[in-house]
Structures are given as structure tokens and as C-alpha cells.
């Protein structure tokens, strides 16, 4: 889960966005596509259409269940929303290397997934 303490700030569009020690938004309300781009840029990533549609799925998941998905439900919901071809861990690993559930949640402005060890 995102901690409520601001550890550092991300400057964007004359705003200071509070981040926790792991780079997750402290206030989910701060999220915007521009914030996602800035967070991605920090990691040396450029967001493509493939990234955006998964970010959308992540945000839908959170608005429905009030929880960021772990890897397994992320794969499943991407598959349901975007088709079986994209609902594969390989596809998500390519888009968000290392830990798609965690990296994806950060870019989508969600708390860190609780069941993602």
C-alpha cells in the first residue's frame, strides 16, 4: 500500500506531486496522464498505446474493487478487457519489466498491490 508520508516530490506542470519512498503517489487524486508520463520518464520508459490500454485496465480494476491487482488478476483482467493475446504475462512483462503489477500500479497512480511480494 502507498504510505501516507511524502518522501519526495515530482515536479510537473508547475505542480509538486508527492511520492512515497517507492515512488507511488501519496494522493491518488494527483494522477493525470501527464503524471503517468513523468513517472515513466523517471524509469526511462516512454508510454505507448500498449501501455496506456493496460493503465486503463488497472484504473478500471481499482475503481471497481478498491484494490490494485496482483499479477494473476492483472493478467486475467487484461485478457478480459483487451483479448487473450494481450492477457499474457509475457506481454505485460515486456511492457512493464521486472514486476508488471507493481510498475503498472505506480504508473496508473494506484497504491502498491498488497499481494505482490
Amino acid at each position: 500500500m502507498a504510505s501516507s508520508e511524502i518522501y519526495r516530490y515530482l515536479s510537473i506542470e508547475n505542480r509538486e506531486i508527492g511520492l512515497d519512498p517507492e515512488g507511488f503517489l501519496v494522493d491518488m487524486g494527483d494522477w493525470s496522464p501527464a503524471v503517468a508520463e513523468a513517472l515513466a520518464a523517471e524509469e526511462g520508459r516512454i508510454l505507448t498505446e500498449d501501455h496506456w490500454e493496460v493503465i486503463e485496465v488497472l484504473r478500471d480494476f481499482y475503481s471497481r474493487y478498491e484494490m490494485a491487482p496482483a499479477m494473476r488478476p492483472l493478467v486475467k483482467s487484461v485478457g478480459l478487457a483487451l483479448g487473450a493475446e494481450k492477457g499474457k504475462s509475457l506481454h505485460l512483462m515486456r511492457l512493464f519489466p521486472d514486476s508488471p503489477a507493481k510498475v503498472g500500479a505506480r504508473l496508473a497512480g494506484l497504491p502498491k498491490p498488497a499481494n505482490c511480494l
Partner: protein, 141 residues
């Protein structure tokens, strides 16, 4: 309706590692506490989610006051505390599809399956006994 375990292997994520060698499931989580009154229900559900996230086949058994966790029409608490209904709604995303309900607990509360938010399998009489026997691990919440 019967106390038999159902498993839907087709629906499972094809590119994850699942050990299908156990007949009924790896883990049985028994939920015996109502929403809001304590953290037992949430902890039991969290345990089930963690196990499922690691590819374990999880069966949930709602017994005693735990059957209230499935009621339709639940909301957040009076102070805005998150309920558990969102998690229950989410179980399918974790491939937790085997929801068993102790029919006796439902009946003694004057409830029926129409009162519940998800399709369930009713367990009658000795069904609970075989559920406990057929799972490698049983956790009681």
C-alpha cells in the same frame, strides 16, 4: 446442489504454474465471521487472495456468521470503513471460483441463495466433513 467440489481448470490462467495433483484443491479457507464487526473476515479473504496469487487452488467455505459476507446490498461502514464486499466481488479475478456455503448456516438465519451476491454451491450435512478431508490445508477464520 451437492457438497461436491467443482473445479474449473479451463478458466485458469494458462501461463501460470498450477499443481493439479490434488483432487479438490490446495487450500480450504473457512470464513465464520461477519463483515465489519472484526477483521477476521478480511484477514481470511486476504489469505485466500495471497494463496491464489501464488497459483494455489483455493476453496472458500462460508459458515456460521460468515454467510453474511455474501449478502447483497452491503456498503462501507458508518465512518466510511471499507467493507469486504468489494473483495468478494473480486475473487473471480483471482480464479477463486469455488464458493461453498454451509446450507445450515444460511437456513438458520432465514436466508437463501437469492440473498447472495454470487452463485455458490450449498454444502449440506456431511459435505463440510468431506471438504475438510479433501483439502491439503485448512485455515479457519
Amino acid at each position: 446442489m451437492s457438497g461436491q467440489e467443482t473445479h474449473d481448470l479451463e478458466a485458469r490462467d494458462p501461463d501460470s504454474v498450477v499443481d493439479n495433483s490434488v483432487t479438490a484443491g490446495d487450500l480450504l479457507v473457512i470464513l465464520r465471521h461477519a463483515p465489519h464487526g472484526s477483521s477476521w473476515l478480511r484477514e481470511g479473504l486476504d489469505t485466500a487472495l495471497v494463496a491464489a496469487a501464488f497459483g494455489q487452488r483455493v476453496t472458500l467455505l462460508f459458515a456460521g456468521e460468515g454467510v453474511l459476507a455474501l449478502l447483497t446490498g452491503q456498503t462501507a461502514g458508518p465512518l466510511g470503513q471499507k467493507g469486504t464486499h468489494g473483495v468478494i466481488d473480486m475473487l473471480a479475478m483471482y480464479d477463486i471460483d469455488t464458493l461453498m456455503v454451509d446450507g445450515r448456516a444460511l437456513k438458520s438465519r432465514g436466508l437463501c441463495t437469492d440473498d447472495l451476491m454470487l452463485p455458490v454451491t450449498l454444502v449440506e450435512a456431511d459435505g463440510v466433513v468431506s471438504l475438510l478431508q479433501s483439502h491439503r490445508l485448512v485455515l479457519n477464520f
